[in-house]
Amino acid sequence: MKPRPFRLLDAIRWGVYGGIAVTLIALIGMVHAFSKKGIVADRIMMSHVLVFGLIVAVAYLTSTRALATKRRLAVPAGIVAGSIVALFPALLGLLITQINLRAVFLNASPELADLLLPGEENNILSALQLVLLGSAFGLAVGLLALVPARLRRSLVSAGVGVILLGLLQAVFVVIIPDSWRQFLYKANGLSPNGAIALFIALSILDYGWLRGRPLTQQRIAQLPARQRRALRMVVTLVMLGLLAILPQLLGPFLSEVADTIGIYIIMGMGLNIVVGFAGLLDLGYVAFFAIGAYTMAVLTTPELPVVRNVIPQLNFWEALPFALLISFISGVLLGIPVLKTRGDYLAIITLGFGEIIRLLVLSDALKPILGGAQGITGVARPRIGEITAVNPQQFFYPILVGILIAWFITARLKISRLGRSWMAIREDEDVAAAMGINLVGYKLMAFATGATLAGLGGALFGSKLGSMVPASFNVLVSINVLALLIVGGMGSLPGVIVGAIALIGLPELLREFSEFRWWVYGIVLVAMMIFKPEGLWPEATRLRELHEAEAFAPVETAEETETAAVPA
């Protein structure tokens, strides 16, 4: 079915949406927060990227949409969309100078107006300048849209890549050799020459090599099985080698980030079994994380005399099995009453449980054994011989071992009879029962396995921090883990890693961003569900099912049609 013809009205509509988005981003304070973060040192700040990035993105969307049905409208569409998007911040800036909006909108300060409006003064002239800039960008994008598709996409990817390289300066400066670093980066952002060089390099890279990736995947798939296995083993060994020296490569700050990512990977693996394999939406996952952490803490801390009178103080390795065991038991206990309820109710019940645990841990009633609102300090650290893991780089290794164990267990379970049973429960519970699968028993197994892995993550977390407070164990943790699964792809093991790096790593690396991470999470969750529910690294079956669906019923998408577009 042909999509309906593009009209200039559509460009206006998209422009309005984009304008509202820019206004929102400005008013929640994101523009201000990012104004100090340089992308191209001292010339282009992230705040510019936000505003103009949106202008460009909306214009791009509009122009390419126009391409599909009415090619000659591509450039006008871009100009219109760009101008309208720019109109909003222009008006906002003007408004701020005239009225005091701060009584309602905290961030509507004169500073914001300065950031939004170009030039020294904030008046009608500068507002007009902004709109004109919007049109200019829109024009450029419109022209870009006319460039052949493959080149165009490479240019866009290169642009995004340059921005990312600027944003994640903290990571890249550590990894790349010194000579490169001096050329590419300055104190706060990329150097202008560096940015240009990178842009060209990335364009060529994307155009030539990365576009050929599906081909590589196919060629690998066609290799004989023995060679494939050998290839896999080589890749695995290389990766393990890299991981072994990673903390040295990364340095203390990035190792800390890696540690946090690692703990969330362990939890993600666990929740993947519950949600991804068995299809049980557990929103109270943080409860098991807390139980693992608190068990480790209670058993190893020198404080809490009430406990110490009954149980002697243990070291990390002695306490770890108990932490795992108690998490496992909690999983079973919490699971039994709960697993007979249906899908969405299960989600709410587990959420309730998570909250109950948090309140219990926080309460005065249980303070003698759980530390109350102040929490517990002096949690033991893992020790082998003379070495105690105290700093982030050392702690990386216990966490890595934890990840490997979690991956191992999860991967093996997935292809087993157990994994199949979970799949059946997820796909069609009634039919699964009719196949002889004991629903409660298998759901419990998923729940308990997930709980144990969360407990492992919690024990490592508590030990790494050395001291813990109840505030760390709130529902946001559960949502965090769920979100990274969704982004990575539910049921997919590599997806967990992708999701963790994206959702846990990025906020840690972009300090300015971390204040807004939940806001972005919200948008990401909605966007993923609507546009890409299978995740960024979906499991193999999904890819195959998409593939086969094409084989059986080829469908032309609007973008692919542009090569055959009717010349207007």
Partner: protein, 352 residues
């Protein structure tokens, strides 16, 4: 007999009933100890109940939105508590402006009316937008997908509010006309509580007429009953669903105003726990059932208010009021396990 038991029940059921029995016995024991020890006067109990009713009224208003959306779409709108939060913020800004202009003191009722109108409009608009942007594209998706989307909407709204208005707690200006209490014998009835009762009752009557006697209400009931059949009968399903969200959002906005009047504060996270409790109320009464939502809300409010003193204290638990929320969540968990259809049973628009 034994064979039948062994045939039909498994260990999960047994464990469940055991847990239920333990809880019931603890509650009865705790209550017995408290009542016989005469720690609280009857006036205090009445106060607890009144407070519970006021709180319950607020829960009921929020619960209406949950129950209507569940009745019509079969989804739990996780973000509904945040519609309430936005309404409360709107009410705050209006009240602050009115207080500054001195209008709040001189015309309290008109001020509150204005706050209501603005808050209800804001919440309703956000509700309709959420439905249009986030929920409508996913109407045919498997069950978990809209739930996750709703979580996303919830966080988006919360942190938008945080970004726009700041992370601090906003203090509502005092409305002199509503401060203080009326004395009936030994019992003090707070004027704010009365306000909540009056407004909630009024809105509920209005809603009843809307659902039962108007064309719009009939459309809602029919779509809740059978979406496809309603479409075949000529009902505009999309519009009806949008209207349902509108009504739910309006009620949530009203609840936001009431919360502001009674508790005098607003913050960006204020929607989460009342939202959960409102959902509990909706399920308690029977999800999809409007009368049930009200009943559930009032019941939960009272249980939450009376509970800590009544049985937790009797069981010897120090600082029982900290666990007020835990009681509410325990009620939630128990209802969903033992009687998910609720007190009045699941349905939308039963002929009450």
């Amino acid at each position: 007999m034994l064979a039948r038991l062994r045939r039909e029940f498994d260990i999960a059921d047994i464990a469940l009933y055991a847990i239920g029995a333990v809880l019931v016995i603890s509650i009865i024991y705790g209550s017995y100890v408290t009542i016989t020890s005469e720690k609280y006067t009857s006036a205090q109990w009445v106060n607890f109940v009144l407070f519970g009713l006021a709180q319950g009224g607020i829960y009921a208003l929020i619960a209406l939105g949950y129950t209507m959306v569940y009745g019509i779409l079969g989804m739990i709108n996780f973000a509904h508590g945040d519609f309430f939060m936005m309404g409360s913020f709107a009410a705050f800004f209006v009240s602050a402006a009115l207080a500054q202009a001195g209008f709040l003191e001189t015309n309290p009722f008109l001020s509150v009316a204005l706050m209501m109108v603005v808050a209800m409009t804001v919440s309703a608009t956000i509700a309709v937008l959420a439905e249009r942007i986030a929920y409508r594209p996913l109407r045919r998706a498997p069950r978990l997908v809209p739930l996750i989307t709703a979580i996303g909407v919830s966080y988006f709204l919360q942190y938008t509010a945080r970004g726009l208005f700041g992370s601090g707690v906003k203090a509502f200006p005092n409305i002199p006309a509503f401060s203080g209490a009326w004395q009936i014998g030994a019992i003090a009835v707070q004027k704010t509580q009365v306000a909540v009762f009056v407004v909630t009752a009024f809105l509920l009557v209005f809603l009843y007429f809307l659902i039962q006697r108007t064309k719009v209400g009939r459309a809602i009931r029919s779509v809740a009953e059978d979406k496809d059949a309603a479409a075949l009968m000529g009902v505009d399903v999309d519009r009806t669903i949008a209207i349902t969200f509108l009504i739910g959002g309006t009620m949530a906005g009203a609840a936001g105003v009431m919360y502001g009047i009674v508790f005098r504060q607003a913050s960006f996270i204020m929607g989460f726990i009342p939202g959960l409790k409102a959902f509990t109320s909706a399920v308690l009464g029977g999800i999809g059932n409007i009368t049930g939502a009200v009943l559930g809300g009032l019941t939960l409010g009272i249980v939450e208010s009376v509970g800590p003193s009544l049985f937790l204290d009797g069981l010897g638990i120090p600082a029982p009021h900290q666990l007020k929320d835990a009681i509410a969540f325990t009620v939630l968990v128990l209802i969903l396990i033992f009687r998910p259809t609720g007190i009045l049973g699941e349905r939308l628009a039963k002929r009450a």
